[in-house]
Subunit: 277 residues, 2 copies
């Protein structure tokens, strides 16, 4: 056991808390590790708490009593989230993103760890109270986003496959109708990937009619799991055929003019209406 | 501009450095943000440097001069890496992981953010000097691991697809022969996903004969890209038909006895031979 000065403790405790979000850490863990009195650790934690909350990093919750400790809850302040999303929308509106079929090229954004971590933290903030056991997505493009969200919630990621792979063991498969293309498709999940009665947060990159997400919801019934939330990065605005209605989006694709190469995007339902002004 | 005390600065700077690995941060950014003299910021940084290096978090490199600043390099100490990997191997050797065909069920490990972050940091440590521009993997199971590695290197993730999706724009496809099943398969990558001459780090979860990785290497030639490293979580020990030989593995699957349900795994080439004792 090595003794650390307060300044070194602050650095190491900050690192430890950030690496273990949504995890109750007993004060004794820190006091043992640094050879410091619990009262000193408590003082350290109030300094960290003030800095975390003042700088918009997140909350530090203290749980009193013998089974108590401290828990870091990542939380993105609303104004930070809105500022970031507006910048993201500017990027998304660039005409060169337009792909045949009115799709947007987003793989660069969905592949950048710093951007994903910010978006993942925003979803983790929105669904922290929903207390999910796992984050679920369907392959492929939503996986890094689901992982980023799961990192901030400290829960596992479960990936629904579009085929049945031998390396997963026994799987549960369902057929579903893709809402936009109306094609019948298959999705499957390994039986052992998800415990029964799990609380599931669904995360995906893009939602048109919502057929894929509805498919995931149907699949989850086979596991007797409960969907506690649903978050998508971009939804399309044409909701006339929307299959699901309980979800949060960061951005909403209002209009795509393929001829004029114009893309119009606005803030999604993550932001209450007054935030759109 | 708000003034922060040293203790609050230490917490916030630690957070900022951890969130921006491999990024040169000018001292003026901190001194402007906190309303502190550059000399105070320098003192803060030497405290953080000592704690980061003493606690095995990573290096803090200072670059002098007008264009200078500070850069956090995540680095996992060898003994920490070996201890973690031995625990991981114990988990992997559990008989219930055995799947038909001699495969191992690893989706739980490949879905746990805390575990992935540790493994990703180990790969980022091993390949920090290789200076990759991107991390590449092929869908599906290696994606979270590739993303975790890329996070610690602060470079984008590029995902090779096993089909051609319309939402990616024009793609480059190649056929390759899966080394173990000897089947001809297709993989493709969007033309705009990778700049020419990129330095690429390949990350994957499992390697048998190496056909998939060889396929990625062939595909990269179409982009005139350079493979600067290759890391896999688990390789199989039977190297007689191995197609590639320049790679790092964390663990090596020595033997699978399907009848007796016994799995034998040892440390991989990440660890020099003496580390295996």
């Amino acid at each position: 056991m090595k003794k650390l000065r307060r300044s070194a403790r602050l650095v190491d405790m900050t690192q430890h808390l950030l690496a273990h979000p949504h995890t109750l850490i007993p004060l004794t863990l820190f006091s043992d590790q640094y050879g410091a009195a619990k009262s000193s650790i408590s003082e350290d934690l109030s300094i960290i708490k003030e800095a975390f909350e003042g700088e918009g990093i997140g909350l530090l919750k203290t749980v009193a009593g013998a089974a108590g400790g401290v828990k870091y809850i990542p939380l993105t302040p609303r104004d930070q989230a809105a500022r970031f999303t507006k910048e993201l929308i500017e990027q998304l509106e660039k005409p060169e993103r337009l792909l045949p079929g009115g799709y947007l090229y987003m793989s660069d954004i969905l592949g950048d760890p710093a951007t994903l971590s910010i978006i993942g933290k925003m979803f983790a903030s929105a669904f922290a109270e929903a207390d999910p056991d796992v984050v679920m997505t369907v392959e492929t493009k939503g996986i890094p986003l689901a992982y980023a969200t799961a990192s901030h919630l400290n829960v596992p990621v479960v990936i629904v496959r579009r085929d049945n792979k031998v390396t997963e063991g026994s799987v549960v498969s369902i057929n579903y109708v893709s809402g936009s293309s109306k094609r019948i498709q298959t999705m499957s999940l390994a039986r052992r990937a998800l415990a029964e009665q799990s609380r599931v947060l669904i995360i995906d990159d893009f939602m048109k009619a919502g057929g894929t997400i509805q498919g995931m919801i149907d699949l989850l019934q086979e596991f007797r799991a409960k969907v506690v939330g649903c978050g998508v990065l971009v939804e399309t605005a044409d909701a006339s055929e929307r299959l699901i209605d309980d979800y949060i989006s960061l951005a909403k694709l209002k209009d795509v003019d393929i001829k004029e190469k114009q893309i119009e995007i606005e803030l999604g339902s993550y932001f209450p209406r007054e935030g759109n002004e």
